[in-house]
């Protein structure tokens, strides 16, 4: 089984040279720590920065320099700041190559729900609806099951949707899964996890190829 860093490490393998990448809050933020150093990648934060760097050293934090998670950050050489309309302009116009975000539920047709549990939790969608509606390449980073042990990979979402038919790939603590027109296709399994374990934790339609390699991280 993968831990959160393991999920981030595996997703980092999807990041290619020359990519502009938007990272969501939570596990996606960790992806930046594991991107190969021999490729050029720029991270976009939708509050208005491209070329986001690591957290500042203590004492060097700047209240005017944060990421979309409201964390203090730094800007790397070549970075640029811009307003929120331009930020979502570059997202809508697909200048941003890859979006990595978390989810509460993903459906086998690629629908995603991650912003609201009616009557329980309403934090808002932030930029997630804009990102999933426009991004060409969307990877979801999440645990395979929720805290109650229920599958988060479903025939259809039960929670209010964030976007329809948009998720391309899912990396969980158990597996790497591709969303295909026929359903969830199992690509890789986490170390020590069997196909049967993944099948049991997946409520949606799971397509299992003959050979399912172990995730290499």
């Amino acid at each position: 089984m993968l831990d959160k860093n393991g999920i981030a490490k595996r997703i980092a393998q999807e990041v290619q040279d020359g990519y502009y990448v938007n990272l969501g809050i939570g596990i996606p933020t960790l992806v930046a720590n594991f991107v190969r150093e021999d490729i050029s990648v720029e991270f976009q934060s939708e509050n208005g920065v491209l070329g986001m760097g690591p957290f500042p050293f203590e004492g060097q934090e700047d209240a005017d320099l944060i990421n979309a998670g409201k964390q203090t950050i730094t800007a790397l050489p070549g970075a640029a700041f811009f307003d929120s309309a331009m930020s979502f302009g570059m997202i809508r116009a697909r200048q941003v190559d890859l979006t990595i975000l978390g989810a509460m539920e993903v459906a086998q047709n690629g629908d995603i729900a991650n912003w609201k549990i009616p009557g329980v939790m309403v934090k808002g969608m932030g930029g997630a609806m804009d990102l999933v509606a426009s991004a060409e390449n969307i990877i979801v980073a999440m645990m395979h099951t929720n805290k109650a042990g229920e599958s988060k990979l479903l025939p259809q979402c039960s929670l209010p949707l964030t976007g329809v038919g948009c998720v391309k790939k899912i990396v969980t603590n158990l597996a790497v899964i591709e969303v295909t027109p026929e359903g969830f296709k199992l690509l890789e399994r986490a170390p020590g996890v069997s196909v049967a374990d993944i099948q049991a934790a997946t409520a949606g339609r799971l397509i299992v190829p003959e050979h399912v390699p172990e995730i290499a991280v």
């Binding site: 934060s45 939708e46 509050n47 208005g48 920065v49 690591p54 957290f55 500042p56 050293f57 203590e58 004492g59 060097q60 934090e61 700047d62 209240a63 005017d64 320099l65 944060i66 990421n67 979309a68 998670g69 409201k70 964390q71 203090t72 950050i73 800007a75 700041f81 811009f82 307003d83 929120s84 309309a85 930020s87 979502f88 997202i91 809508r92 629908d111 009557g119 309403v122 934090k123 808002g124 969608m125 932030g126 930029g127 997630a128 609806m129 804009d130 509606a133 426009s134 209010p160 949707l161 964030t162 976007g163 329809v164």
Partner: protein, 233 residues
């Protein structure tokens, strides 16, 4: 040069009334118009509609206006950091219109640019789309979103000059640059107000025509919401 300077925050907010719609710049607590918010709280205007990406925290930013029940309707994209907000929303005291962040920004920008409405794919197929016109472009479904109409926009910049020209710093530009000029009256507060001519015209982010009133802000707290640092190697 047309002088946009007002003497202080009191003069800057003159004319605000109960029931009006305000835009407030900032992302989280980054770049919020601290002086204007404090003055609006002191003025006690109520039944307001506030358009802002976030709703502050319980004891800072727009949270200060919520505690005093000044806000009737809040239009925002993300309100997760504010317990007071969540209580008022769940108990029905506060009407909340959650709006995708990019649509919120563009609805401000459209108002700023004199565009009445625009199509965006954000929110298609979700509850955000309820009651909205939809249309297909290039094989993809879009929603019609309308430009906001607001009485006042309160924005905060790093530097400004007496002509109302503004320069922002870092990620504090965010919604401030989209809201300037998007309301009937735009009030800009700045950390440093200089005479016209001292800012390089090449470096202006928002030209003074977008700003009706500008003033030198005082005593900025610039609170950090999530202080994150890394250890020195």
């Amino acid at each position: 040069m047309i002088n946009k300077v007002v003497s202080d925050v009191q003069a800057a907010i003159s004319g605000v009334q109960d029931g009006q719609t305000f835009m407030l710049g900032g992302f989280g607590l980054c770049g919020i118009p601290e002086n204007a918010i404090a003055a609006l709280v002191a003025a006690g205007v109520k039944n307001l509609t506030c358009i802002s990406n976030n709703a502050g925290v319980a004891d800072f930013g727009i949270g200060l206006m919520l505690v005093k029940h000044q806000v009737k309707t809040m239009i925002a994209s993300y309100v997760g950091e504010n317990d007071v907000f969540e209580q008022q929303m769940l108990s029905g005291i506060l009407e909340v219109i959650l709006t995708p962040q990019g649509s919120l920004a563009e609805k401000c920008r459209a108002a700023q640019a004199g565009i009445p409405a625009f199509y965006t794919p954000a929110g298609y197929g979700t509850e955000v789309a309820l009651g909205k016109e939809t249309k297909e472009f290039n094989g993809k479904m879009h929603l019609l979103e309308l430009a906001y109409k607001a009485d006042f926009a309160f924005v905060k910049a790093w530097k400004g000059d007496t002509a109302g020209n503004l320069i922002f710093k870092g990620t504090a530009r965010n919604f401030n640059a989209c809201m300037a000029g998007a309301a009937t009256i735009t009030v800009a507060e700045v950390e440093e107000l200089v005479p016209a001519g001292q800012l390089d015209p090449n470096h202006i982010h928002i030209p003074g025509i977008m700003v009706q009133r500008i003033f030198q802000g005082q005593a900025y707290e610039k609170r950090i919401e999530q202080l994150t640092t890394r250890p020195r190697a």
